[in-house]
């Protein structure tokens, strides 16, 4: 992917911020979007992440102009777009099904938006070929769409979406139809392309790994509302509720009790002496499986660590890591991920074995307990 700066200059006018305020959309009696407000900065790569039916696609389609919300505002820069028909919004979009025109060649597909904008033929040719070169498909220009593989179609859809220099790029699960290897390769390429184009990008996915890989910021969406918005690190390290903790990455959630002085405790260990919220409601501890370490038998517990003792109930080898489920007292299960480097002594681990696990206090994540 090279030469993109020639197609789209890197000056600030190429990307626009998006301001969404109080956007509401109802289907019958159920809310697809409940008064969603969101700011996407100019040039940012923002991912809308959520399970199917969470409203993320509805939100994207509202930005593109394909559905009409019941209330709210969508601004590109300072311009109100809420009533603007889709063909006047000047946003590029990559559809989940790619939506390539099957009766046109690859070149004609990519040149289509330029033809609509009455770009003269020589320039149209040059720009379309340049866009195809950017996605490494220039040698396929004369092919028919049905002669391309899934990954190649995806690239054509991408080239078609940015060839007319839109200042906002929308993508609706563009990689979901590709196999795992190609998907991971395309994630990196899309990220590089975004860096080169500098165009404000809103990306929809249900794949949390994809979101973590690609985004500047992630907006986690659940039941028509933004559950949390932040950088991938913020979202992963400090989920605000059980839904986010559960949806992003793997986690074990353990309910905590309070002792007489109000400290949060788990099996006689003080997890947190300062409850983050004094209102007195219940809290849970979220533990990421890779943050746990195996305590070597005989070593002393140090103050900075929480220790959990239990019995291995399941142990699976998964290549670069191995996963163990550990049954704790009180019928809680922790999952722990081991590196399979030979330096980790996991060879002797087997189902039914007793072990102790430690968690650094810096890795403690507290969330309000779901009621």
């Amino acid at each position: 992917m090279k030469g993109i700066s020639k197609i789209v200059g890197k000056d600030n006018t190429t990307s626009l911020p998006i301001s969404i305020a109080s956007l509401t959309k109802k289907y019958g009696d159920s809310y697809a979007l409940k008064s969603v407000s969101l700011e996407v900065k100019a040039g940012e790569f923002l991912t809308l992440l959520g399970p199917s039916g969470s409203g993320k696609t509805t939100l994207l389609m509202a930005i593109a102009g394909f559905n009409r919300p019941d209330a709210g505002s969508i601004q590109f820069g300072k311009i109100e777009m809420i009533l603007m028909p889709p063909h006047k919004r000047e946003v590029g979009m990559v559809f989940q099904s790619y939506a390539l025109f099957p009766h046109m060649s690859v070149f004609e597909n990519v040149a289509f938006p330029l033809k609509l904008r009455k770009v003269p033929l020589p320039q149209r040719r040059a720009r379309a070929l340049e866009a195809l070169e950017t996605v490494q498909l220039s040698q396929y220009a004369e092919r028919q769409v049905d002669q391309l593989s899934g990954g190649q179609r995806q690239r054509v859809a991408l080239a078609r979406a940015f060839v007319f220099r839109p200042r906002i790029l929308l993508m609706d699960e563009p990689l979901s139809a590709l196999d795992k290897k190609l998907r991971e390769q395309m994630q990196i390429e899309l990220k590089q392309l975004h860096r080169q184009l500098g165009v404000t990008t809103v990306y929809v996915t249900h794949d949390q790994r994809e979101a973590l890989t690609m985004s500047d910021r992630i907006a986690v969406i659940n039941e028509g509302e933004i559950a949390q918005i932040g950088t991938p690190k913020q979202i992963y390290n400090a989920p605000v509720n059980a839904f986010v903790a559960d949806f992003i990455g793997e986690s074990s959630v353990i309910p905590l009790d309070r002792d007489a002085s109000g400290n949060l405790v788990f099996s006689d260990q003080i997890v947190s002496s300062l409850a983050p919220d004094q209102s007195g409601h219940a809290w849970s501890l979220v533990i990421r499986p890779e943050r746990l370490t195996l305590v070597k038998p005989g070593s002393k517990q140090i103050v900075e660590e929480l220790v959990f003792c239990g019995v291995i109930s399941e142990f699976v080898f998964q290549g670069e890591t191995a996963l163990a489920l550990v049954q704790l007292q009180g019928n809680y299960t922790l999952s722990i991920r081991f590196n399979t480097k030979s330096t980790e002594s996991i060879e002797h681990l087997e189902i039914g074995q007793q072990l102790s696990l430690s968690l650094d206090r810096n890795d403690i994540i507290l969330i309000p307990r779901a009621t």
């Binding site: 593109a64 559809f95 099957p102 289509f112 938006p113």
Partner: protein, 300 residues
Amino acid sequence: MPKSLKNYEANLNSNALELARKKEQFLLLGLTSPALLAICLIIVIPVGWLFFMSFFGTSGEFSLENYQKMLQYKSYARVFAATFKVSILTTLLCIIIGYPLAYFLSELPKKYAGLFMLTVLLPFWTSLLVRTYAWLVILQRKGLINNFAIEYGLWETPIKLVHNLNGTLIGMVHIMLPFLVLPLYGAMKRIDRQTIQAAANLGATPIQSFWQIFVPLSLPGVVAGSLIVFVLCLGFYVTPAVLGGGKVILVSMQITAILQDQFNWGAASALGVVLLIATFAVLAVASRAFKLDNIMFGKQ
């Protein structure tokens, strides 16, 4: 690895597998044979017989007399020309009326589409003869339309709507319409609506995306439907006979006339053969021009 062992492994169970494969083929042949037999009895033999009879003239001797007559007399050429003209006009009118109808149906939500589809299908299920005579009642000199128009002063004297080309076309278009609308509706339903959204997203106005994306993508349906209509029209008899009132003579009517007036099976067969060949010729040209295999059986 020793060679003998290799051979042994290559032949493992191969005889039994070969036998199973053959058994399956025989079974398949057995299952299809009733259908093959039926096609042979109903289509191949009668059509062969038709060909055979067309070579016997009035004298009862084997000759090309029937075909020579067709070339000799201008009236035959006129009948064929009329048949093609009526068929082409009917097909064009069906496209003009059927395309917006199919588009409307394909855009409706599913529950309403079924209801409106009934309005297309209900006449389709009604007897051909009933519909044809119903048109006669509606269109005749003192029929529904003329009475209504004169009463409300739309025109003064009755307009001749039936027993001419008008009536023939009205009746034929009405009867042929479902044959165009159904395949066209199917083709339109198969168009990925995201491509229409994509066109809008790329800057196409609704009119641009209709003409540049939707229409080209629906063309296979238009071609498939038009061909069905056109081929059916070429051999249509009842409706043009009743509504044409003898003013519009098509090949099918000519065949009837020859049989009824002259009892000449040879000449009638020859006409049938030429019509059949003309139909095949149309299909052959169309399949060349439109890659018919793709349209009928989906792109591989």
